[in-house]
Symmetry: C2
Subunit: 243 residues, 2 copies
DNA sequence: CGGCTTGTTGATCCTACTCAAGAGGTGTGG
DNA sequence: CCACACCTCTTGAGTAGGATCAACAAGCCG
């Protein structure tokens, strides 16, 4: 894990409108940059933080992707989130001031490190930043509710369809193709996230391909029939930025 | 839904240390009270807000209990939370300024209404309140993660055991018995919350009783063997205030 | 009392899990 | 350059846990 401590600029960051600076004036963005000028490069498989680490920073993803994982007392794990550029990691550690999950890079990635103590002080002075922090907290709660819905009721094919649509839409809102993308996570992580086994996920990918909903080749996914996929998902897809 | 608009006092509220005033000085509590002096009585079955309602207030539960429910596009529902006195409802609506869930009273209950716009301004001036709001957001994220773990991996009996222990501990932290309590929600709500059917939940209650883990009579639950129940739950119980 | 809601129990079925074998891809070292 | 180990992914066969369908009991309230 290299801490290159490079000065970063929010104003020319490609995901600024999905990240903390969203809704801030140029002046306020400048103040935010002074608090958050550290940039870190994280290699695939490395972790930003681990359970038990004291809470010091939030991390904003600049590029790459991460999984958030919690570990139960018996060592069992649960993937709770796949995070893409512009998203913040670490918010759940605030209340206990200790991380209870770990965030592992699914591919070589880079993040901005945001010392929360400083962010907190700045937010006290900049209402727009304050509101953006509330907004991100609240949005994360809303998204977790949708995952709950998925895990609570839905069949295996519905869950996978919903995940594919969700990821597709999130890539789209970041300027990438919504019809073809590369899943940065292995089948086991997808299965864990969806509350299924890797075998079931693999079978579903094969079946979706037979049904001409998608084309799969390893981690490369091409969406053929978005409508069909949406119907399968029952629109419980958490399509980002919409409703 | 009666808006009795009674002046309320946080300082003599029995759940103040679980609620927003936690960690605040007497002086700051007084300022908080001025923002939040409305009290509402909600009858069993009535809702605090519904999906589509604009976000104006947070609600702090004084007495009684609520369920939070989200509704999917196809009308399917998911109970995401059972809320007890001291807990805040409505946080997930901030980012969109519209409620996407509803909060229904499981029994006759009373709440404090907190106009968020005013709370936001006060928090800007009172860092301790600010921190308490972050803390509540963060804690809610952490709790949702634990539910995710439950729904994602665990067997039916583990889920129910974990819920019973969770509720038991939450009653205990509010000064009630942890070994005997009344479930304010019907079996269908428990089932929905746990991602099971009402029949399965009912069978599990019967089985737990046969195994001498609990004694059940309708909604009255008596915990006989807390340790056995904990083992079943695998300590994925979200025991409040601990870890 | 009678209608309604909530909860219990039984029988059967089906979805996704488990166990197992093998294919495809990648990186390392000889 | 090939051989080998290793890891991820796929596919198959059998199984089990929870869903579904259905009947009935127990409260509760007008």
């Amino acid at each position: 894990m290299i801490d290159s401590s490079v000065a970063v600029s929010c104003s020319n960051c490609s995901v600024r409108r999905l990240c903390l600076p969203a809704g801030l004036s140029l002046e306020d963005i400048a103040r935010l940059e002074q608090v958050t000028r550290k940039k870190k490069v994280i290699k695939a498989g490395e972790s930003l933080y681990r359970p038990g680490d004291s809470f010091q920073n939030l991390y904003a993803i600049r590029s790459g992707s991460f999984k958030s994982v919690i570990i139960a007392a018996d060592g069992d794990t649960q993937v709770t989130h796949f995070a893409l550029p512009g998203e913040l990691l670490g918010l759940d550690a605030y209340s206990k001031q200790v991380h209870s999950s770990y965030a592992e890079a699914l591919e070589d990635s880079s993040v901005c490190r945001l010392p929360f103590a400083q962010l907190e002080i700045l937010a006290q002075q900049v209402p727009a930043l304050q509101q953006q922090i509330y907004s991100i907290f609240s949005e994360e709660l809303r998204q977790e509710n949708e995952i709950l819905m998925l895990l609570g009721k839905r069949s295996a094919d519905t869950r996978l369809a919903a995940l594919l649509i969700n990821i597709s839409s999130r890539y789209a809102s970041r300027g990438y193709s919504h019809s073809e993308f590369i899943l940065s996570m292995p089948r086991t992580d997808i299965a864990n996230y969806l509350g299924l086994t890797a075998e079931t996920v693999s079978r579903l990918f094969s079946r979706f391909q037979r049904q001409n909903l998608i084309k799969v080749n390893g981690r490369v996914v091409q969406v053929i029939d978005l409508l069909g996929l949406s119907e399968l998902a029952g629109t419980h897809c958490g399509y980002e930025g919409e409703i």
